[in-house]
Symmetry: C2
Subunit: 156 residues, 2 copies
DNA sequence: CTCGTGAGTAGGAAATCCAAACTCACCATA
DNA sequence: TATGGTGAGTTTGGATTTCCTACTCACGAG
């Protein structure tokens, strides 16, 4: 019998394995703000320098960030988001929205994002097919992986 | 002068401080699937039991989960999402979407979610005001916190 | 020549994580 | 009445990570 220990295969888990370590998503936040220099990242995120260096290496390896010199002699680098990195912004926006509402009751927000339409951005997750906002009770999960049901491994 | 070490005040950071530890969002995933028993969580997530116990305590304290006995004599418990917990599902769906696209090229997905409209759910983050999908280049950030600009502390 | 800045490395203490074993209460069966 | 099984954790001790401070190295400014 196979190893009885592997968890549910899941893109959420895989994504978090990449960007779920402490500070990683905050790095993406800062870099999306256009703020890609090492010392700026240290200041704005509050991460230890060595941990930040490790995160940056990992995010570059994963194709989420690129590292480019904006000056040779003195060598100076800047990290910028790739397309994949930019596409993490919706994740950041939904996290921000949750925090704004549940941790701050919607008042005294530390940051407001303006949408090009002129309004303050309030992100809503919708269904691409019908356009309606997504609510828990409208969803049904269908595991596709061999041997897995919603409840767990198929024997269950 | 104040401590020069505090990072940018940010709801994303605050939210991650709550649910950003390893396994926490996977706990929310399982619990939203209706899968709230300790041993099931251990199997489906693959977390060490002690770490899982710590995460559950924290999530209950944060008001994201509740713990309820579904049987006295033998005492048996089940964790369920609160309203705040359910509202993390959009975050999970955007993470899933990112992973499905960038880590699996959209093929061979381990889980498909069906929306009540009958279609496979492809979550899109939109602006509540105008309804358009959110793209990086349409956003402008406006920090509100004392002494902070996009670049960093106001002196910068 | 000395100071300051950017982009890291180095070293060791402190905190976390992990796997496996253990507990405790109960139920089933034989 | 022993034997085993399940659920829900706690304990233990070692392996990893994090954290913090300091240090480096290259340069440019005064």
């Amino acid at each position: 019998m196979a190893a009885t220990k592997d968890p549910r295969p899941c893109s959420i888990a895989d994504t978090l394995a990449l960007v779920g370590e402490k500070y990683s998503l905050l790095v993406v936040r800062e870099v999306c703000l256009g703020n890609g220099r090492f010392d700026q990242l240290v200041r704005n995120i509050g991460a230890p320098r060595d941990v930040l260096a490790a995160r940056l290496r990992r995010l570059v390896d994963a194709g989420i960030l690129t590292k480019r010199a904006y000056s040779e002699r003195p060598q100076r680098f800047e990290y910028r988001p790739t397309q994949a990195g930019l596409e993490l912004e919706p994740v950041l926006m939904t996290l921000k929205e949750w925090g704004d509402r549940h941790l701050r009751n919607g008042v005294d927000l530390p940051m407001v994002v303006e949408h090009i339409c002129g309004n303050e951005l309030v992100p809503v997750v919708t269904c691409a097919a019908c356009g309606d906002p997504v609510h828990h009770e409208d969803l049904t999960a269908h595991p596709q992986a061999e041997g897995w049901t919603v409840k767990g491994p198929s024997a269950a």
